[in-house]
Structures are given as structure tokens and as C-alpha cells.
């Protein structure tokens, strides 16, 4: 084996914060190494040093034995290191080919050789099974396709070492699966890869070797075959992490009932006649591959859109109006699917984000004037009770990590004491410790007597939290099965639209539970 990449004794400090301390790491040709660590463990900083975005205080980076000059990303590209950023560095209005070709030719060349660029792109796309249309506009592509373009961009620069920063953070489960197939293919063809992740199942299924980073230091290195999810989880968090257990449900009255609701898709797939009941004190899990109507369903229950047909009954009654203020007043709390877009306003302060949803309540304003002291005190209480770290009441909320932002949103929703809670993809992008925290809060809400509508594409999460589970497929809901009967295989069938087994199970269940 040849050693293609070697990081030796890297130390990087930002002021008093040590992001990386004496980190050493190597990569052999044709190998896939997972860099595992919680958010804030220093994974991204380490890779940014490798790629020349930051300069290490101490330590060296070698590619194929030659030392890289620090702080020059052009040098890393020339040496054959490519980075696929977590936030895509793409131009939405330009074509795939244009995005890929930028910066690959001398700037003052009189004519850009598009034909050659196109040929090279198509050749790469064929060799690695990354199908793209070179002339397509980036804005018209799905997230998964955008990522393909990002990878192709690195390959186009003749990268032999590829670094992927949390490549699945924005992908659906299926897209992630196909990505990992591609990565294995690339490794088999001689490329060497490092992918950064905090998701254990990915690391277990896609890597040859795992390097665990905690608080800026390498705490362990394991061959993937010789380790287990449990061991890795413990190494990563530094203590044994247990997701909370679900106590038995004590279902009460029906809080929310959909009767044959149809709704044309609003930025998502349409709902084609769905019916379900949500009881007090229970969690109804909606499992499904993204793009099957989840976003529309969450929007419907949150009050964003009224149903086109059928009825949505809240506590047995049709709401006077289907809009957000009425939904909130009726006791519906929402954890939005995309916390950065719908959940928070990045450039506003933590306290403003914490109270904005209920700014008209007498608690936070009177006669059109905001009660700043009360608002800030309430925010302070959320930060304390929900263990939101790194946040100040007056600081901009975009500076928070995903996990802490989600804790704040949970705190904001749950302190209002909702009767119905819509949780859309509540643990997407969070690390193991944060997921356990979110799950605990959702179970608490249910224990308090709230009805929780959990919309998720994570099988483990849905099975762990839900009392009953329905699959959403093409805008329709499957029959409900009790969580005790659920397993990956059955849910997989349900998500694929085969509901015969589920129908049978539902028929066996006592009628009041449907």
C-alpha cells in the first residue's frame, strides 16, 4: 500500500480555544477513512487545514510524501486533494459544466475550451457512475445531484484524495445510500477518501477504518470490521450514550383528526386523501422517503395551508381559520423541518427568535410594545432548562450549532405547553448526544399528555419514539401498525407502497386505537 496522505501533529488554536491538538492521521491509497466526531470536535477545522483554508499553528501535511505549503488551497488542488464542502460551493444560475470548469484554465486564455471540458466531464461522470447533464442549470438540480456536481468538480481537478465534509447532512436516506455506493466504487478504482461524519450507521457501512475525534484530539482509531456502533458511540461522546426508552402510552381523547384531506403540493408533493387520528398522550410516527408529501403534511397541521378537500379537525372541531396564528392559539406546536430556513431567522438575536412566534401574547408584549425584559428572561430560562450551549440571549442565532439551535426550538415550542406537537425531521443533522436529548424531550411532551405527530425518515427514530406508525407514500398514508410489530423489513415494505401486511396488522388492532 502507498500512503497518499499524512497529517502529522497538527495543532490549531483560535484564541483560547483549541480546535485541534496534536492530531495525526494518514490515508492509504484506495482506502475509505471515516473521521468520526460530534459537532464541534474539530473535524472540519482539521480538514480545512489540510485543504489550505486555515494555517496550522504546529504540524505538517504531506501528500504523496511531499509537504504542502500551508494556507494555499491552490497548492492542495494541484497536489491532487479535492474537497466536497458540506455547504455546496456552486453557482445556481450557471450550468453544471460552467461550475465545474471555473478556475481550471489560465484566467487570461483567450478562449475557453468548452468542448474539451465537456468531454472530460462526461468521461468522469461515466467512469464513476455520477450521471449529470453538463448543460443543466444548477438551480434546477436536486440536492443529491448538486452533490454529484461537487464531487465531479473535485475529480475534474484530477483529485486522487477526496475529502467529503458531512456529505449526507443534506441528503435523503436514499440519496445517501447511492452516494456511499459511489464512494466505494471510487475507492475500488484507486481513489482515496476521507469522509467526515457523526452518524454511526454510515461510518459502519461505508468505511474501512475509523478515526474518532473528540474535543480536538484523536481518541481512537479502529478498523471498521473490528468495532461496533456501541463502542464508537461511546468513544465519540466520551461516555455511554443511551437513547431514552419509551414508556407505555396512555392514549386519551382524539386531539387531531384528518378526514380524507387532499391538498395540492406547496413546495412538496401533494396529499391525495389522507385520514388519521392523533390521540392525547401518544406519538404517531409518519415514516417515508423525503418528497412523498411530508412537507405538505407538516404545513397542513401547522396551519400554513388549509386543506383543499376533506377536513382537519382539531379537538373535534373545524378551526375557524386555517392559518398559523389560529393553529398556535389552538395549542399546536411546531418543530419545522428546516431549522435554518423555517425555524429561525439567522441574523436576529436568540431572544427575538425565542419569542417571535408568540410575540402578541400578553406575556411578551402589551399595546404593541415588546416586553424586552420578560422576553429575555424567558429566553434565559430556555437556554438554561434546555441546555443550549454557546448561546447568549443577545447573540445572533446563526452562530449556534445545529444541535443547540434545535434545543432552542424545542425549548421555544415546549415551554408554550402545546397539546399537539408536529415534529418534522427533528433530529436531522444532529449528533448522537443531541439526538438523545431531542428524543427525551419528545417523550416528555407525550408523557405530559400531548399528541406528537413525528414525521421522520429515520427508521430507528420512528420505531423508538412512536406508539403507532404509518408510512407516507406518494401523498397517501398507509394503515397504522403498532410500534411493537414494526421492524425495518416491514417498514421498508410499507415505504415502498406494499401495504398488505400492514392492513392485516391494522385489522387485528382494537378499533379505538386507529
Amino acid at each position: 500500500m502507498t500512503r497518499v496522505l499524512e497529517l502529522e501533529h497538527i495543532t490549531k488554536r483560535f484564541g483560547t480555544v483549541t480546535a485541534n491538538e496534536d492530531v495525526s492521521l494518514h490515508l492509504e491509497q484506495g482506502e475509505i477513512v471515516a473521521l468520526l466526531g460530534e459537532n464541534g470536535a474539530g473535524k472540519t477545522t482539521l480538514m480545512s487545514i489540510l485543504f489550505g483554508h486555515y494555517t496550522a499553528d504546529v504540524g505538517t501535511v504531506r501528500v504523496n510524501g511531499a509537504e504542502l505549503p500551508p494556507g494555499k488551497s491552490r497548492a492542495a488542488i494541484r497536489a491532487g486533494v479535492g474537497m466536497v464542502h458540506q455547504h455546496f460551493a456552486l453557482a445556481p444560475n450557471l450550468s453544471v459544466l460552467e461550475n465545474v470548469m471555473t478556475g481550471t484554465e489560465p484566467l487570461w486564455k483567450l478562449r475557453s475550451d468548452r468542448a474539451a471540458g465537456r468531454a472530460k466531464l462526461l468521461e468522469l461522470s461515466q467512469r464513476f457512475g455520477l450521471a449529470v447533464d453538463p448543460e443543466a442549470r444548477i438551480a434546477d438540480l436536486s440536492v443529491g445531484e448538486c452533490q454529484r456536481v461537487e464531487i465531479l468538480k473535485a475529480l475534474y481537478n484530477d483529485a486522487e484524495v477526496l475529502i467529503l465534509d458531512e456529505p449526507t447532512a443534506v441528503l435523503t436516506a436514499q440519496e445517501a445510500e447511492s452516494l456511499f455506493a459511489t464512494l466505494r466504487e471510487m475507492a475500488a478504482k484507486g481513489l482515496s477518501l476521507i469522509f467526515i461524519s457523526h452518524k454511526l450507521h454510515e461510518v459502519m457501512s461505508a468505511s474501512d477504518r475509523v478515526v474518532v475525534l473528540r474535543a480536538g484530539k484523536v481518541v481512537a482509531e479502529r478498523a471498521t470490521k473490528a468495532t461496533s456502533k456501541e463502542e464508537l458511540a461511546e468513544l465519540m461522546v466520551g461516555r455511554a450514550v443511551k437513547r431514552p426508552e419509551r414508556p407505555p402510552a396512555r392514549p386519551g381523547a382524539v386531539l387531531l383528526e384528518a378526514v380524507d384531506v387532499t391538498l395540492g403540493g406547496k413546495g412538496g408533493a401533494s396529499l391525495l386523501g389522507i385520514s388519521f387520528k392523533l390521540h392525547a398522550g401518544e406519538t404517531l410516527g409518519i415514516i417515508g422517503v423525503s418528497g412523498n408529501g411530508q412537507t405538505t403534511l407538516a404545513g397542513l397541521v401547522s396551519g400554513l395551508y388549509p386543506p383543499d378537500g376533506g377536513a382537519l379537525l382539531v379537538k373535534g372541531q373545524t378551526p375557524a381559520r386555517h392559518d398559523v396564528p389560529h393553529a398556535i392559539a389552538a395549542g399546536i406546536g411546531r418543530i419545522p423541518e428546516d431549522r435554518n430556513v423555517e425555524g429561525t431567522i439567522g441574523d436576529m438575536s436568540t431572544w427575538e427568535n425565542a419569542v417571535l412566534e408568540r410575540i402578541w401574547s400578553p406575556e411578551f408584549s402589551s399595546r404593541g410594545v415588546v416586553k424586552r425584559a420578560a422576553s429575555k428572561a424567558a429566553t434565559e430560562a430556555i437556554l438554561r432548562d434546555y441546555d443550549v450551549r454557546g448561546a447568549t440571549v443577545d447573540g445572533r442565532i446563526r452562530l449556534l450549532s445545529g444541535g443547540n439551535m434545535q434545543k432552542l426550538i424545542l425549548g421555544r415550542v415546549l415551554t408554550a405547553g402545546p397539546d399537539i406537537l408536529v415534529a418534522a425531521q427533528p433530529s436531522r443533522g444532529l449528533d448522537e448526544g443531541a439526538i438523545a436529548g431531542v428524543h427525551e424531550r419528545l417523550l416528555d411532551a407525550r408523557g405530559r399528555g400531548a399528541g406528537v405527530l413525528l414525521i421522520s425518515e429515520d427508521l430507528d427514530e420512528v420505531i423508538a419514539l412512536s406508539d403507532r406508525i404509518r408510512a407516507i407514500v406518494g401523498g397517501r398514508l398507509s394503515p397504522a401498525i403498532p410500534a411493537e410489530r414494526a421492524n425495518a423489513q416491514l417498514l421498508g415494505l410499507m415505504m415502498a407502497g406494499d401495504w398488505s401486511a400492514a392492513e392485516q396488522i391494522e385489522a387485528e388492532a382494537p378499533p379505538h386505537e386507529i
Binding site: A91, P92, T102, L107, S112
Partner: protein, 313 residues
């Protein structure tokens, strides 16, 4: 109706369209370049005034006409450098900086003008560009005098449209410019410095604005007065939106505006009983209408007005 026909069929009318459009073409291409790289340049009104003054002053003090245009370009580029440093390097508000440059450049132009000619009661004149009939082509009936009996800077403006379109869409530099206007992070990740690219492009765009201004003093008229740009710069900013940030459409937009302007001038002289101010309004009203129609389909450069700072998202 025959009145309208008389206006529309006169060679003079169409010849004027191209003449009126020339400074707009220069200015619009300048703004277009700046915006393609992600920077709004509201300094244009002032930079055009400065270009008009510098161009005129160069010729007035004995330089030849082409040297005048060159000086106007250099003067524009200098203000472009200032705008670039303030907005691209220091990340200041592009609106405020641009308006500041317009105010400063306009007043500064008048100041320099007064220093140069302290006593004149009527503005001193220079010998401007004369129409240059292109051999053979200008003999074509109707089209000949309209298209091929213009001043040299007009030919230059038309040629620049093609050159700029080629640079933007066919060269690596143009791709890097467009990419910077869309996502400077991506450009940086490929090893090109988006801040230097922005400053350079703003300077080039501002140079074009300067030349556009100089056309007024060295071809359209033959003297300088401080209010002569008369909002043409603002029209260019609007025309870029109308053009959907494409050079070919920018030419079309400039010609369209110029057409209405030439048309209303002639209407003023033949229609009685309507206040002439109403006719003056015509091109502006119509450009707002055109803007509404076109801007709905606009694909705005995604990083327009967003300062780029390394390491921040």
C-alpha cells in the same frame, strides 16, 4: 397618422437613436460588468460626470480626442478602484458607497472644471468627434446614413457589446467573473481570489462609464456643464435589469430607450396643446413598464450586493 409616419420614416430620427443610445450602451455595459461580478455600482452617475469633465478637459488643454476618451476611462477606473476597495475589500454597503461616489464625483468634477476655467461666462467648447461615414456601407439607402454615418465612439460602443459578450461567455476570465457574482466561495475554493477579481472588474466597468460620460462632451456636445449627465447613469442601472444581465439585451434596451427619447423630442415639436413635460416623461414611463415586464423573469446574480469575507458563510 401621417405625422407619426413622417417621424418614423425620417433618417434623422433613426440616426439620433443610435447617437442617444451610445452613452447608455457604455454605461449599461459598465454597470453590467460590475453587477456580474456581484457589486452594485451606483457611482455611475458621478463617474459619468467625471468622465465627461476629464475627457473634455484633456481635449481642451490640447490633447487629441482619443486621448480624451482614454483619460475619461482612466478617471472612471480610478473611481472604480475606490468603489472596489470600499465594497469588495472592506465590505461596506454597496448602495451607500455608490451614492457617496456619485455625490463626490459630481461635485469634484465641477470643482476641477471651475479651477480649469475660472472666469468663462459661457462654457468653452472643443472640436468634437465628427460623423465618420463608413466607405461604401454608408451609401446604402436609409440604413447607410442611419448605421454607418456615426461618430467613431458609437462604432466603438457597438463593437464593445460583442467583445464583452465574448469575454463573459467564451473565456475563462468571463466565467470566473460570472461565478464570482453567483458564489464567490466557489471561486475561492478553486484558487482564484474573488476580491481581487471584483476590484479589477469594477475598475473595468467604471472605465466604460467614464467613456460613456466623455461621449457627451466629445461627441454629442462640445462643452462641459455639471448637470449634463441628467440621470443617464440611473437609466443604465435600470437597463441592466431590463437586459437580464446580458450584453446583447443591454444593447437592445439602450436602443429602445433612445428610440423613445428621440421620438418624444420630435413629438414635442409637432404636437400642440400638450405640455412638453409630458413628452419628456415618456421614455422614463415606458422604461418602467418595460422593466416590470422583463424583471419578472430576471435571474439576478445570486451574490449581488453580498460582501465576500474569507472563512465566513
Amino acid at each position: 397618422m401621417s405625422l407619426l409616419f413622417d417621424i418614423l420614416s425620417s433618417v434623422g430620427m433613426w440616426e439620433a437613436v443610435l447617437r442617444i443610445a451610445t452613452p447608455l450602451i457604455f454605461g449599461t455595459l459598465g454597470v453590467l460588468l460590475c453587477e456580474r461580478v456581484g457589486v452594485l455600482n451606483l457611482g455611475i452617475e458621478g463617474i459619468m460626470t467625471f468622465g465627461a469633465m476629464v475627457g473634455w478637459l484633456t481635449v481642451y488643454s490640447g490633447g487629441n480626442l482619443w486621448l480624451g476618451l482614454l483619460a475619461a476611462a482612466a478617471g472612471g477606473a480610478l473611481f472604480g478602484l475606490l468603489h472596489g476597495v470600499l465594497t469588495a475589500l472592506l465590505g461596506l454597503s454597496q448602495h451607500v458607497t455608490g451614492l457617496g461616489i456619485t455625490l463626490f464625483a459630481s461635485s469634484f468634477s465641477y470643482f476641477v472644471f471651475r479651477l480649469a476655467v475660472p472666469t468663462a461666462s459661457s462654457p468653452p467648447t472643443v472640436e468634437p468627434f465628427r460623423a465618420y461615414p463608413v466607405p461604401v456601407l454608408s451609401e446604402i439607402p436609409f440604413l447607410g446614413p442611419v448605421l454607418f454615418n456615426q461618430t467613431a465612439p458609437t462604432y466603438l460602443a457597438l463593437g464593445l457589446v460583442a467583445v464583452l459578450a465574448y469575454v463573459l461567455y467564451r473565456t475563462p476570465l468571463g466565467l470566473a467573473i460570472r461565478m464570482t457574482g453567483e458564489n464567490p466561495h466557489a471561486v475561492d475554493a478553486q484558487g482564484i481570489d474573488p476580491i481581487r477579481l471584483r476590484i479589477g472588474t469594477i475598475m473595468a466597468g467604471s472605465a466604460l462609464m467614464g467613456v460613456g460620460g466623455a461621449f457627451l462632451t466629445l461627441a454629442a456636445f462640445n462643452s462641459f456643464f455639471p448637470t449634463m449627465v441628467q440621470g443617464r447613469g440611473w437609466i443604465c442601472v435600470a437597463l441592466v435589469v431590463f437586459a437580464l444581465w446580458q450584453p446583447g439585451r443591454a444593447l437592445l434596451g439602450a436602443l429602445l430607450f433612445a428610440f423613445f427619447d428621440a421620438f418624444q423630442l420630435r413629438l414635442q415639436t409637432v404636437v400642440d396643446g400638450v405640455p412638453y413635460q409630458l413628452f419628456l416623461m415618456l421614455p422614463y414611463v415606458l422604461s418602467i413598464v418595460a422593466l416590470i415586464v422583463m424583471a419578472r423573469r430576471a435571474r439576478v446574480p445570486q451574490a449581488l450586493m453580498q460582501p465576500y469575507r474569507r472563512g465566513e458563510r
